[in-house]
Symmetry: C2
Subunit: 455 residues, 2 copies
């Protein structure tokens, strides 16, 4: 990690770093599939009209145009940009997924559970934890017409399990509920709930005093109302005691009750099934996103300034098709943000930089065919094997393996005697290509967290 | 596959189709890693200057611009397009890999073996087998200064093994050698070897008579020269007998000899290690690509009109950095082209459309927690399991599983007695959540070729 990206905001990994990323991706996929989520991918490209349906984010979007077209007719290119049919790169996986669901509704079985791991692009100013090209790993469950609340509970538990399986520091899912917040604001007489949320969302950045000012100027709150909204946002519990704390504020509202009940279900299940990983945090607002119930952000403990590594929530209408509504609940893991942090702070490491476990050395240039036979036998048992390309001196071939991080070198002498050398220990022993297997820790690349690394 | 892409040239798969694609990708990755290739990914974006270094392909390239920028200043956007620092999407994985090697040369161990599986984009007119967004799977070996020819042999064998592991019809790697062709052309007095190659490349499209005309008009060949060039291109053998056939044409040239010797090595090894999969085909020219030795195209037998599904070859200088040259040899599989054909012709199928093997039914709404416990036990043994969200009637829950293609439904009655129902057979038997495992063919999704499917 001495390197910096040659194009700012577009990180690329060295092979040993990519192994850490692959381990993260494989682990997420495994957990998602064990929970019955099906893989889909959507095209990288959407129409501008589709991407900007929710407005306000157009400055982040990369538009596409064929180079040849532009040179032929610059005016056409310009027109293309404001044309809703023009193409642009997707900036998240939720908007494309919503389109996919609508387009393929007739072919999907609902509730439809999918995971989607893909690159997304945003033309923002790059900074730590914020790239222009990055990988997201999303899970969502989407229903046709209705979607039981239980999926909100399940999604949180699946994500807690997935994150727990990664080589990352401890984390906390901070969960709130829009119904709870909006019901509370209405209950105290603040009806511009979106405005209140927008102000509360700035709490971590500007502090309670300034938020109180904002609430007064932006949504016309009284001092008492601002105080109550801030008191609500100050509630943070690891168990369901938040319910009593909210009730103690003396506000009654049906939507508030519904939200309290929903959040209680999530926290109750989490206390039991993901103890210590989840908390009710009534300050979570999730900015301008169009959530309608559960909202989630996730911090890495000790890396809070990195921002949320996993966010999402419930949409009453993830998508709609005429009168038909598709409610959804989902969470999105910022894989690149996580992997960047793992690599920049050496939180985890790959045991070697190549998949290869064995290099088959050449005794002489004619032995390449025999060496390939040995390699094929080893590969048939799942042992990643390379064959040397030249019959250099053995010392040089061993050095070649060592430099590439290959743990074992195989030798076959002219009499057909096979030996395998453990480069680390220097031990060289007789071995049968039809039988020999490396120790399990050397069979595949291992990715281990810093804590588990030898000092 | 009743559907067509909602955006022409940008195919998207349904979950059961994606499972076929995933199987293809997983299989390729497994074979590549078994042969010691390390994974890398490069950013989707290159500078226009980098992409157009070799010229002549700019009309295929998608340029990028931030929407907001363009609206602010259309002239800036226009300037950006002809600016070599402007960004565009990569159209293959070779150009980005070459840049990556140069940028990271100090961190890589050479010969560097990598595989790279990513999407690429080309703004071409979409047609069968040609999409605007598609996935390529590349392997390359690149050396620092020199790269033994043996890697050309190895790359061909690895690809033959990888393609053999896929659920696709029989295939043939058609291999030629640029040195052989160019040496031969020089030997008969045609020095514009690029011009000859360009004409020969049209052989399949326009036939030998028209190619002979082209050779006369384009490179000034005599009838005899044109005839000899066509005779060379007509040689196609499954063994090394092409060497004698070329010699019988009576042309002598050092470069020709070098090419004959190289191609002979490839074919000799292939006859032994990939019998029936490889042939010497002296008509293969590979268009305008800058290969310098081995060149490869691959056809699916019975699907020749689909075009090449795997192409590549040897570059003397894949990349260079000052005086330092990085020769490479590599092949690129057109994954989307293959998968599109598999799906459109039902050549292979996934055994179900979801990863889930078991649905745990709910006896009543309070049993969700107990059902999650059963699911966790099953998942701990690698059995993909979902829990029902609602305590519908059992018939409805079974139907839910059936509709989603989940093969087993798990029931736990109020007395804690566990039973599992095989939906296909209807059998329902007692089962222990700590012990029970589905038959291996139901544990994971299976992708089988049409030939292996039950009639």
């Amino acid at each position: 990690m001495a390197r910096t990206a040659s194009l700012s905001g577009f990180p690329e990994w060295l092979p040993e770093e990519r192994l850490v990323e692959l381990h993260v991706l494989d682990t997420l996929r495994k957990v998602f599939e064990l929970h019955g989520f099906a893989s889909i991918e959507t095209r990288a490209v959407e129409t501008v009209g589709q991407l900007l349906r929710k407005g306000e984010i157009d400055k982040e979007v990369y538009g596409l145009s064929r180079l040849q077209d532009d040179e032929a007719d610059p005016e056409a290119a310009k027109a293309g940009k404001s044309d809703p049919h023009a193409l642009a790169l997707h900036f998240d996986l939720t908007v494309p997924f919503a389109r996919y669901v609508v387009e393929n509704a007739g072919y999907l079985a609902f509730p439809f559970r999918r995971y989607q791991i893909q690159k997304v692009w945003r033309g923002e100013r790059p900074q730590e934890g914020r790239a222009r090209e990055f990988t997201q790993a999303d899970i969502d469950v989407v229903g046709d017409g209705e979607l039981p609340f239980r999926y909100d509970v399940e999604i949180a538990l699946v994500i807690a399990e997935a994150l727990s399986a990664l080589p990352i520091p401890d984390f906390r899912l901070r969960i709130n509920n829009r119904k709870l917040a909006e019901g509370f604001y209405r209950g105290i007489g603040l009806d511009d709930t979106a405005g209140v949320l927008r102000s509360i969302d700035k709490l971590e950045k500007i502090g309670p005093a300034k938020v109180a000012e904002l609430l007064k100027t932006e949504v016309g709150a009284s001092s008492d109302q601002a105080q109550l909204a801030l008191q609500l946002a100050g509630i943070r519990t690891e168990d369901t005691s938040f319910v009593a704390q909210v009730r103690a504020l003396g506000v009654t509202n049906d939507l508030l009750e519904e939200g309290l009940n929903e959040l209680e279900q999530v926290i109750e299940a989490a206390v039991q099934r993901a103890p210590g990983k989840v908390l009710a945090d009534l300050s979570i607002a999730r900015g301008l996103d169009y959530y309608t119930g559960t909202v989630v952000e996730t911090v890495l403990v000790g890396h809070e300034q990195l921002g949320s590594i996993c966010s999402g929530g419930r949409y009453d209408a993830l998508a709609s098709k005429g009168n038909r509504k598709f409610p959804g609940v989902g969470l999105s893991i910022g894989v690149t943000r996580l992997v960047s942090r793992i690599l920049s702070q050496d939180l985890a490491k790959a045991s070697r930089s190549v998949p290869t476990a064995v290099l088959v050395a050449l005794t002489n240039d004619d032995s390449w065919g025999a060496a390939q036979d040995v390699a094929a036998q080893l590969r048939s048992r799942g042992i990643a094997t390379e064959v040397a390309a030249k019959a250099d001196k053995f010392g040089k071939q061993i050095k070649f393996a060592d430099r590439r991080g290959i743990p074992f070198v195989w030798f076959t002498d002219d009499d057909g005697r096979h030996q395998v050398k453990d480069i680390q220990s220097g031990d060289q022993t007789d071995a049968d290509p039809a039988q020999w297997t490396p120790p399990s820790e050397d069979l595949h690349v291992q990715v281990t967290t810093a804590a588990a690394l030898p000092a």
